[in-house]
Amino acid sequence: MLPPALLLVLGMLGPVAVTIGVALRENGPVGAVTQPMRDPMVVHSIGKTLLLAVTVTIATWICGLLFTLAVGLAPRVVGQILFGILFLTFWISLLVRTYGWVLTLQPNGALDTLGRSLGLTDAAGFGLFQTLPGLLPPMVHIMLPYMVLPIYASLQALDPAQVRAARSLGGSEFLVLRRLVLPSLRSGSWAGVLLVFILSLGFYVTPAFLGGPGTQVLAMVIGVQFGRLENIGLTAALGALLLIAVLVLYAIADRIFKISEQWERV
C-alpha cells in the first residue's frame, strides 16, 4: 500500500507544491494574487472563463436532466441504447470529438452546408465558428456524461414503488415529476453541476480548437504564458489560483450538498 501512496504523493502533490512554491517565490504571497490581476488580458480571460463555465454548466444541467429522465422513463431497451450511445462517446478520443465539431462548425463546413440545403442560411453560413455561441454545443456535448452519471445514480435510488404509490394516490404526471422525481434528483444534480463547472474552469482542448478571439480561457492563457512567453511567475500564480478556487468551491459544495456521499453511489 505504501509505494502506490508514495507515488501519488510524489507524482501529484509534488508538482502542486512546486507550482504554489514558485507562485509565492516569484510574486510573494500578496503578489501571487494581485500580480495576475494587473494584466487586463488575464482579468478579461478570467471573466470569459467564468462566463463560459456558468453557461456551459447550466446548459449541460438542462440537457443532462432531460437525457436522464428520458433514459429512466423510456422502455428498458431504448434507455440502454441511449445510455450506450452517450458513453460510447467516452471511448472516442476527446480530440477526435472536438475536431469533429471543428469540421461541423467551420465556415462552409457540415453545418453550413446542411443549413444552406435546407434554406436556413445564405452563402455566408451561420458564422458560429470560433465564437462563444459556437463553443457551447461542443462543450455541452463533451460534458454531458459527467452530468448524466450522477443524476442517473440519483434516479436509480428512487424506488419505482414510490412513483406507483404517488400515481395511485391520484398525483398527476406533472405533480409526480415536480414533487417526487425532481427533488430526489437534487443531490445528483448538484454533484453533476459541480463536476461540470470545475471541469469547465480548466477546459483546454475544446476552447483551444474551437475558440477564437474573445474566447481565450484561463487554461489557454496559462498554456501560452508558460510554453511561449516563459512567464513562469504568472503561470504558477494562475495555476495555483485556479487550483485553490476549485478546492474551495468543492469544499463549500461538499459541506452544503454532501457530494462526497454522492460519489459512493456512482
Partner: protein, 380 residues
C-alpha cells in the same frame, strides 16, 4: 522580460507533429492535411528518384564515437522525408542513429546550458537563435570542421548551419474569381469576399503583413511598429478564421472555410499541386535562415556536428529544397537546382527580390514584445 521568446513556425510545426498538450490542436489538423494533400505535397515530391549522400560528405569528420544523436524537431511528414532522404544514410555512414525528440521551445531554453542536456540540438528559427545569443544563453559553437552556410548572417555562421529559409506567403483558394496581388488585397474584404485564415498559436509574419497592407514598404518594416500593425489587424479581425497548425490552414482553403490564407510557402506549393489554390511570393515574409543550435554540453557533440555538416552540404541542401521546398542556406545549392525547382524556393534571387526579408537581428530583439502583443490581440 526574457527576450527569447518564441517562434511561430516552430510551434506550428510542433503542433503538426504532436507531442505534449500544446501539440494537441495540430495533431488532428495533421490528419486533415493528409487528406488534403494526398497525391501532392512533400512526401510524393520526395518519392521521385533516389538520393545518395555525396561521397565527400564525411571528408573532414574526426572519428565519431557516439551511437546516436538526439534532435528535437517537428516530426510529421517533414521529418519522415528528412529521415528517408538524409538521416538514414547519415546513420549508416556515421554509426549514429538520429533520434527524434518532440520540439519544445521552453524545454530547449532550459537545456541549452544545463550540465546534462537531453537533446543535442533543435530545429530553430534564425531570430530565436540570435535571441539566445543576445540573452547570454549562446548555444555551443559548431566544430571547426563543420561546413558553414554562406547565406546565414556572417556574425552567426559559427552557430547556425544546416538549416533552411522559408516564407509566409499570401495564398488563396481556386474558388476566388480574381487573384489577389498583395496584402492590401488580403485586407480588402469588399473586393475579395470570404474569410481569411491566420495563425493563432503563434505569430507568423503577422505584424509584417499588416504593415505592408497599411502601406509600409516591404524594405522599411524594421523595427516593427506594433501599434500601427495591430490597429490595422483590428480592421479585419471579424473576417478572420484562425488556424492552429499549417495543416489546418490548408484544410480551411480546401474546405472553402477561407478564401485567403497567410501560410508557409511549402504548404501553398502543396495546395497548388493539388489544384486547390494558388499563391504569390510577392510581399512574402521571408525568414532567410534558421539553425540547429547545439546544447552547450551535448552528449553526442561529435555526431551532432557531423549531422549538421551533412545537412549543410550543397547537395543535401538542394535535395531538401527539392523535396520539402525549404530554401537552401548555401548558395552553391542553388546551382544544383533546375530552373523550375529554383522558381519554387522562397529565397531564389527572383523570389527574394519580391519578398520582405526579415531582419533577423532586429526581429530577435523585438520577439518578446511581438509575442506578448500578438497573444493580447488574439485573446482580446
Amino acid at each position: 522580460m526574457n527576450p527569447n521568446h518564441t517562434n511561430r513556425r516552430n510551434f506550428l510545426k510542433l503542433a503538426l507533429a504532436g507531442g505534449g498538450a500544446l501539440a494537441v490542436p495540430g495533431l488532428l489538423s495533421a490528419c486533415a492535411a493528409s487528406n488534403t494533400s494526398s497525391g501532392g505535397g512533400a512526401t510524393s515530391a520526395s518519392s521521385k528518384g533516389a538520393f545518395t549522400l555525396p561521397s565527400d560528405i564525411n571528408a573532414k569528420w574526426p572519428k565519431l564515437s557516439s551511437t546516436e544523436v538526439v534532435l528535437a524537431g517537428f516530426g510529421g511528414e517533414t521529418y519522415q522525408v528528412r529521415h528517408q532522404r538524409v538521416f538514414d544514410q547519415f546513420s549508416k555512414l556515421s554509426g549514429a542513429k538520429v533520434v527524434d525528440a518532440p520540439w519544445d521551445y521552453g524545454k530547449f531554453l532550459n537545456m541549452v546550458d544545463s550540465a546534462s542536456p537531453e537533446w543535442d540540438a533543435i530545429d530553430f528559427d534564425g531570430y530565436s537563435t540570435v535571441a539566445l545569443i543576445q540573452s547570454g544563453k549562446a548555444p555551443a559553437k559548431l566544430a571547426d570542421w563543420v561546413r558553414r552556410c554562406d547565406l546565414v548572417d556572417q556574425a552567426y555562421q559559427d552557430y547556425a548551419a544546416g538549416s533552411y529559409a522559408y516564407s509566409v506567403v499570401l495564398g488563396w483558394s481556386s474558388s476566388l474569381k480574381e487573384a489577389p496581388k498583395n496584402w492590401a488585397d488580403f485586407f480588402d474584404t469588399k473586393k475579395f469576399p470570404g474569410k481569411r485564415a491566420f495563425p493563432k498559436s503563434i505569430y507568423a509574419g503577422t505584424v509584417e503583413i499588416a504593415l505592408m497592407a497599411d502601406g509600409v514598404s516591404k524594405d522599411n518594416l524594421y523595427p516593427l511598429d506594433f501599434d500601427r500593425a495591430f490597429r490595422k489587424l483590428d480592421q479585419i479581425k471579424g473576417d478572420l478564421v484562425f488556424y492552429d497548425s499549417y495543416a489546418q490552414g490548408q484544410q480551411y482553403i480546401v474546405q472553402g472555410s477561407a478564401t485567403m490564407v497567410a501560410i508557409a510557402n511549402s504548404r501553398m506549393i502543396q495546395l497548388k499541386k493539388d489544384g486547390k489554390g494558388d499563391f504569390t511570393y510577392e510581399q512574402a515574409v521571408l525568414y532567410p535562415w534558421g539553425a540547429f543550435p547545439i546544447t552547450k554540453n551535448a552528449k553526442h557533440a561529435d555526431a551532432v556536428n557531423a549531422l549538421i555538416d551533412t545537412m549543410s552540404h550543397p547537395a543535401v541542401q538542394a535535395e531538401v529544397a527539392r523535396s520539402l521546398y525549404l530554401g537552401p542556406t548555401v548558395s552553391a545549392a542553388f546551382d544544383l537546382l533546375s530552373a523550375d525547382e529554383k522558381a519554387l524556393q522562397p529565397n531564389s534571387d527572383e523570389n527574394k527580390a519580391k519578398a520582405a526579408v526579415v531582419n533577423t537581428e532586429v526581429a530577435a530583439k523585438q520577439d518578446g514584445e511581438y509575442v506578448k502583443r500578438f497573444f493580447d490581440w488574439v485573446g482580446k
